[in-house]
Symmetry: C2
Subunit: 709 residues, 2 copies
């Protein structure tokens, strides 16, 4: 079955049944029928209720099987215990989509019934939206199949929300803010259809210019990320994610895992996907409204027009915060604005018209920005003065906005008293981007610029992994066969070699004689580490000796290691010691990759030891990553300058780090049974001299398989 | 003369002259007279204009000397070239304060005329507010002596603004938001009276509960900081500072200076002073309104009441961001709210009344929070549902707010459509803290809590400096006498010794024999550094040798240093080499102190090398600092855990760092001719083992003297 067609039938159904329709206006089953009629849905509406009768002039059928025409969607509002039965009738009637409003499933602990419902539905060619939702609105079908307050305006913003209460309230909010919607989907428990499915439709829907996601928790995040990466090449996507708490990170067993505060990963992945993350609902709404109507800027350079120095400086601060580039060609600015301000001849940006500015001065200055090929966006600020006619100014704003529209983005910020407040509200309702606060205005322009940079980004080229997957699987298999969920040092080294990750030369010596002979073979200085599946934290056990310069030191160290490890854990089975080349110093980095609970395969990067542990200076990406994306990740940490070389040091071999990062990403993507792999440290040398992995740790988990995408 | 009395006469003048009064309603000289009358000023108003006549029913005098009664304040609106003459007449008339509205002084480059005006005025017992301002409003005198739009409501917030245009617009904004003011002062060029002077009055003004400062640049910041520290023990102070740019930092010559991005210092000092820093004007207004009316919480524990899980989670996120502590005693929560929700028996905070909640449920839940001794503040959230009567809810909010008022702080956030928006606006105008966005609501409660913690802070005990200032001055003097603005290594060591800062044992050797003998005396290993006033960056010149283990190495190193330094700078006068004890490893820190352009004496702290240079992980304080404040500074850096001991290491000797920080703070406070002193590194050992300063650099500047305070 074609899933794309399926999902279209949810947004553009030929006929809709409302199971549990009611003639009592206080009931959800009434409200939905009422909203569907009021919104102008042109397909057939079939109210279903065993009691029969009539609702809002429509005859009530006793069962969905009685419908005369095709029923692409059934909205189910009856109590939880009757939903399965309704699904059976729907299957019989050839329904394609169940929109299960009803709550009382997995959200109250009854995951079994929910699973049963979904399994039955999928077997019978039906998709399930919900349960525990308020419904769906689709402008393409002029269909408000929600129990919200009605009055949704059609437009260009699609909202997908996991929270019901917030979603319902958003309906009123969008109407109050004149924010037009192309779709509004409540996804609730996501028992079957989730964000990624819904995005599949919205990606192709021409009316949808901006997608606003409200997310509380992510399941199958790798599918979501893949979908988002595609969509953000063509549309703006804004996300609000609540629950920035530490949950999830706690569960992760390994060292890398313990750093992966779930929100850090979410944040990184959204950036990677080109998604704009808003903090508050208000911010998300501001952005969505603006993005839905604003043209893409023809270039990076914004100009501030103001009549107050103070707000000009505040706006400049905000531009730095929100990454809006201010045009700064002094001669050009002087030339452009000399006609507007013959006496002052400002050559600065913000262009300060001074508090003497009249409406005409604004008009000229805005015209100048609009027609200048070097200036690409405008931020017009106004501080109320006694000299100014607010009515006249409002007209100017309307006129200028109409002229800018479709050509260059412009945002306004007006600051002042009652009249200014009223004007701001009036203009906002007309869809003009006027804000009371300078920071809000700049934040919206900043969102547009961020999205513009995303839209313009190069196609991400992902190289195929070059390592021998089967050989690696064989190593993992042998560890499993040994009853272990982790790899021993020599197994991990073996995997590293198969991955092309360079490690110091080393041999496992089973006794003192072998240790000495290995050291002589490798060449001094050497390091030694205990090899034992019973001892994971080798240093703590006294199982490590460094910088052994000669035969005598090797002998002493071997004996000391054996003594310490026995003392640490008397019954530990010790296989021997690893004797290895002592590596020269470089910049220590940590690279890791793991199966994240939300996003599946992910990679992380940070600088060694303290930087990661104390400074929490780490970056994440969803895997696999391209070379370009790996470099983005690496350059995102605050301590990145250390790799570029500080204090006259040479640039480090960043290419090697990129190489290891992409390799680890591929590995955890291909071998999902690897729950964690950590290279710590990867010592990076000067440019051209590569990097060496001193320790590689690999943990195995359950292979949950690759998600279908 | 008593300055306090003087400043009171500016806010509560017995009579006011308006010099440049006009009968033309388009003129500033008319508007001010009009506003003074309209605001209800009860003292005598003397319009002054050589043309004579009458303005708004008041006779116009030809000169201020003709005034019949006392004139405590003269508002001057005439062109710049006539202001000095007017000041002469004011002096003759015994005027106490000149409020110079007129622009065209230092802000357009004419600092001379401004200086002449201030000098004359001070000589004749007059203080000057301005020039380049829009005037002053004082609720204590029911006096609006500004040319703003009028309609200022009396209340409890005092605004002090450096920006005229923004200040004027704020008048309208405060009226539109029903924000009552105790005072509004435009300080413009700050030629004489500045923020600190104005704060001197506001500190004692009972009507003023909150002070809102808009600052663009700080002069005499040490005086301002001292004043703020005192005021924030009793009142809330909110500051907006524009211009977060890098200017100022560029000018600083030394290494410490180059880190001192002016905004970092401003930010640190404000925190040190207990001042709340708002980012945007809207945020500052939100805080000021709320703080002016909210009672201090009886304790730290806040409770969230909500009817939507989604906004509850968003609010929880916001509470973490704004440092609002959520009450979390599960049994107590269950017990408290079981009456409200018998079926659910929620034991969580946010308390989720669910979307089924009716107005009565809110009433009961809010009553429970209000009467519980364990719960100290409330955040009531509401997501619009179909089930809810908005009118009834608005009444509930009013009732509950009245009950909470004076007892516990409460903020509301309502999310929904037209009705909710209208209700929010209505309630806001009534002064009830209702916000459209959850983050705004929590931000305001967070500001109250931050201020509450400041208000409750212990008195800062400042120890007297114990070092011999005169002996230090003698060392500085000898460097000056030698024509240097920096100290040589041995001079700096001398100062360090006088300050009680421990440095490694060292001697300056003038030749090879002396070097060997010094090394033998100190004991191996030793380090050697070239001593030359011509070579500042010793390492770059190859003038440093470390870890010299024996006589032979000392000989080799001495010769190598001489060779390198000659090659580096052939004509350098080399006095010899410093032979010093080789110090054992520890945590490397940097401590500095300097004369900041804005705040005068300041101290900084960071972890050695990379942490400061690359990670910009530094903290600042205005000096002198108490032990407690020094510890606050030290613990503020992200890498602080390194001093507490990570990976099983012991806690470091933080007391030694505190000691050095307070000492440096005292030094730059007492010896203002020291422009910079930097201890880099200060190597800190385990707790109890002290710290050693490896290098101390001291730069001298012009001694601008201690500001009068």
């Amino acid at each position: 079955m074609n899933e794309q067609t399926d999902i279209r039938s949810l947004f553009e159904p030929r006929g809709v049944a409302v199971i549990g329709a009611s003639s009592n206006p206080a009931k959800i089953g009434y409200k939905i029928v009422e909203n569907m009629i009021a919104s102008g849905y042109q397909g057939e509406i079939y109210p279903i209720n065993p009691k029969g009768g009539e609702i809002l002039g429509r005859p009530v059928l006793k069962s969905v099987v009685d419908a005369a025409g095709p029923v692409d969607m059934a909205v189910i509002t009856i109590p939880a215990q009757f939903v399965y039965g309704a699904a059976e009738e729907c299957a019989q009637a050839g329904v394609k989509n169940l929109v299960v409003i009803t709550s009382g499933f997995s959200e109250v602990g009854d995951a079994e019934e929910e699973k049963r419902l979904v399994e039955f539905s999928r077997q019978h060619g039906m998709r399930v939206l919900g349960p525990n939702i308020f419904g769906i609105y689709s402008a393409a079908a002029a269909m408000d199949a929600t129990f919200g307050p009605g009055g949704i305006l059609p437009g260009h913003v699609a909202i997908v929300t996991q929270s019901g209460a917030l979603g319902i309230a958003m309906i009123g909010k969008t109407a109050a803010e004149s924010l037009g919607l192309s779709a509004l989907v409540s996804i609730g428990n996501k028992s079957d259809l989730d964000e990624a499915d819904v995005l599949g439709y919205l990606a192709e829907d021409d009316a949808t210019k901006v997608i606003l996601l409200y997310i509380e928790g992510v399941k199958n995040g790798d599918r979501l990320a893949a979908m988002l990466k595609q969509i953000t090449k063509r549309k703006h996507v804004v996300v609000i994610k609540s629950g920035r708490s530490k949950r999830g990170a706690m569960a992760a067993a390994s060292h890398t895992g313990s750093l992966a505060g779930a929100d850090d990963i979410f944040d990184s992945v959204m950036r990677q996907c080109g998604v704009l993350r808003a903090t508050s609902v208000q911010e998300a709404f501001n952005w969505a409204r603006f993005l839905a109507d604003a043209p893409l800027p023809p270039g990076p350079n914004a100009v501030i027009i103001t009549n107050g120095g103070g707000i000009g400086v505040l706006a400049t601060d905000a531009c730095e915060l929100y990454n809006v580039n201010l045009y700064d060609d002094q001669p050009k600015l002087r030339e452009t604005f000399k006609g507007v301000m013959p006496d002052f001849g400002s050559s600065k940006n913000p262009v300060d018209l001074t508090e003497q500015a009249a409406v005409d001065d604004y008009a000229q200055a805005l015209d100048a920005v609009r027609t200048s090929p070097e200036m690409h966006a405008c931020l017009a600020l106004y501080c109320e003065t006694a000299l100014f006619d607010t009515e006249q100014f409002a007209s100017l704003l309307r006129r200028q906005y109409a002229r800018f529209r479709g050509k260059k983005p412009i945002v306004f910020s007006l600051f002042g008293g009652e009249k200014i407040e009223a004007t701001t509200q009036t203009l906002r309702k007309e869809g003009i981007p006027v804000f009371a606060d300078v920071y809000e205005a700049v934040s919206s322009l900043g969102a547009l610029y961020q999205s513009w940079r995303n839209l313009g980004r190069e196609e991400d080229v992902l190289d195929e992994p070059t390592f021998d997957v089967e050989a690696i699987r064989a190593v993992l298999q042998s560890a499993r066969a040994d009853g272990r969920s982790f790899l021993l040092a020599d197994e991990a080294s073996n995997v590293a070699e198969l991955l092309g990750i360079s490690m110091p030369r080393s041999t496992v010596a089973r006794n003192l004689e072998e240790a000495v002979s290995a050291a002589e073979d490798i060449g001094y200085p050497v390091v030694m580490k205990v090899v034992s599946k019973d001892i994971i934290h080798k240093s703590d056990a006294g199982g490590v000796a460094l910088d052994l310069e000669n035969r005598e030191e090797v002998i002493d160290a071997f004996q000391a290691i054996m003594r310490s490890c026995r003392a640490y854990k008397a019954d530990a089975a010790i296989e021997g010691v690893e004797v290895a080349e002592m590596v020269k110093a470089g910049v220590e980095t940590i690279l890791g990759a793991r199966q994240d609970a939300s996003f599946g395969p992910t990679v992380m990067f940070g600088l060694g030891g303290i930087y990661v542990e104390v400074m929490k200076d780490v970056a994440f990406r969803a895997a696999p990553v391209s070379n370009k994306e790996a470099l983005n990740m690496i350059s995102e940490i605050r301590s990145y300058p250390l790799l570029l070389g500080v204090r006259g040091e040479k640039r480090k071999d960043i290419e090697s780090v990129v190489q290891v990062a992409t390799t680890l990403g591929h590995l955890v993507n291909v071998c999902r049974e690897i729950s964690d792999i950590e290279v710590n440290p990867l010592v990076v040398y000067d440019h051209g001299n590569g990097a060496k992995a001193l320790d590689v740790r690999i943990l195995l988990g359950e292979d949950k398989g690759v998600n279908p995408s």
